[in-house]
Symmetry: C2
Subunit: 331 residues, 2 copies
């Protein structure tokens, strides 16, 4: 796989430099400069919202740093969690005396390093809470929802938590809304083609020219089935049915994200969205603020995911609150 | 090449339906519904701004319909110009009695059909002007600039013309600013991998696994050279040098677009932008409002282009004016 890069060892740092040059409101902090913060003044007493994860998923994670979203973000090498130091740097950068929410995907390395960083933060008097994104319904059964991985639906939790913090919510309130959004968000993806970690000898996984894998994770984690490719409408029907099987009682409104995993073009996303909108309408659900595009990718991986966030009035209001980051502007 | 689609014959219509479902401010008009208009009221006497072209380039063309940008857009099949009827529909939808600017890329089919549509519009008393995007410096020498194709830099002309029309400029003023932006905008691209028209037997062109083509057009038109892939910084240096060879005298500020042709990820675009920013700074140019992302694509084609718009105060003001469309929000 060809890439427009220089030395693979410089990939992450050059990417972060470019991101911060293009968005002067962002800057790199910490000894290895692997935490990204925004320069909009946070008022004293505001709860900080922090995330982190591996590189290779832009706009996730660093692209969501900005007012009304993340205050800081720790970033690792490609598909590797951020270091403990970077997590500490992000927490310290987001601390305004009211505590910091650490909101990130449910992956072992990220969990371990944020846990250690939170312990160090506690020694310095900074209180933290942790909420894990667990929206990928392909990664564990509903009864084991806490084992599920976090994927594209995490951005709904960013948005709601960021808005709650801006609105003056305390650490419990910000953690609580993030957990509520996670509890009401579900994602399922389908993979068509692989990606390659810069400098690696070959692709991250292989998949035949006429096959797709349903439910594959964003690092190539195994999915539910692998078969010949099928028409988009059939795939969307299966995806929506699986998502709606976990629809909470009494919900009539949903936020929808139709996300490109990388190389799948906008045209195909709109074809998927068309069918998803038809099926959600048939299920009596009103779509609010649909997002269609590359929001959480795996570099040049082919495929798409559909996320639903089952709304209540509180979540819907927070998703509509003003926010501004390099990849998502609301209001 | 795998695609998340249904019957290839339905590709364009399903994509347009999805676009309009996701963005209720847009709707399809005309007998074959191949013109897209926005629903924000245009005041009587406002000059209309219209574009058009083939499908497969989203966000171009239909994704730039919205207040402060395009009022209407005619859209054809994949990589095929819109029909005369669709061009007529777009012109009619954008007409508020003050004439309509037809602003589109310099391709034979598009030119011919917009010309016919403009003649029909004239019979109905609608005055039009035509301005052609000719920013692709790989497609003809400077002395034959009028033969150059239009590529990603066209969106700067959309933005300036749309702002001038919103500001109350008459048809001459709107056409004049569009032509000035075209005259001051240059683009060069590099292709890494091909795309496939839905339903076609194979890819649109072929390129070896370790090769790139410098200057290739967005439909696979031949470029300047094809060689082994090289480090990103070397490529950017060559691209920026070619662009700056056509820098007008006295210019100190530029708008920059680092554009993905489709599957090239954000990470690589930021690596390219980093080097481009360094080189432009070294050339004494200040970057204004950089755009980095997929703005003009060829479905899943791999590669990137760099566009520079050499600014003056008038253009810079118009680029900063408020605008809102599915893929570009300013102010």
């Amino acid at each position: 796989m060809k890439k427009l890069i220089n030395d693979p060892a410089d990939y992450v740092d050059e990417m972060l430099d470019g991101l911060c040059l293009a968005h002067p409101g962002l800057r790199r902090v910490g000894d290895d400069r692997r935490a990204i913060v925004h320069s909009v003044a946070m008022w004293p007493g505001k709860v900080g919202v922090v995330s982190g994860g591996g590189s290779g998923h832009l706009p996730l994670f660093t692209g969501y740093v900005g007012p009304g979203l993340l205050d800081a973000c720790a970033i690792g090498n490609v598909f590797e969690g951020p270091t403990i130091n970077s997590c500490q740097d992000a927490i310290a950068a987001a601390d305004r005396g009211a505590g910091v929410l650490c909101l990130f995907g449910n992956y072992g390395g990220d969990r371990m390093n944020f846990e250690m960083a939170s312990e160090f933060a506690a020694l310095e008097g900074v209180e933290t809470r942790t909420v894990l994104g667990t929206d990928d319904i392909a990664s564990a059964r509903p009864a084991e929802g806490h084992k599920r991985r976090g994927v594209a639906g995490l951005i709904f939790a960013y948005k709601a938590a960021g808005a709650m913090a801006e609105a003056g919510g305390d650490l419990d309130a910000v953690a609580s809304i993030a957990q509520k959004v996670v509890d009401r968000t579900r994602t399922i993806g389908v993979a068509l083609s692989s990606c390659q970690i810069p400098g690696a000898a070959g692709p991250n996984f292989t998949i035949a020219d006429d096959e797709i894998e349903f439910g594959m994770g964003i690092h190539g984690e195994p999915g539910i089935w692998r078969h010949k490719i099928r028409p988009a409408d059939e795939l969307v029907d299966e995806m929506i049915a699986m998502l709606l099987a976990e629809r909470p009682a009494g919900v009539s409104r949903v936020a929808v994200l139709v996300n490109s995993l990388g190389s799948t073009p906008f045209e195909e996303l709109f074809i998927l969205y068309r069918r998803a909108a038809q099926q959600l309408d048939a299920a009596g659900l009103t779509i609010v603020r649909p997002l269609i595009g590359p929001y959480v990718t795996s570099m040049e991986m082919g495929g798409a995911s559909i996320s639903l966030c089952f709304l209540d009035d509180e979540i819907e209001g927070l998703l509509a609150a003003p926010a501004d980051c390099p990849f998502w502007k609301v209001g």
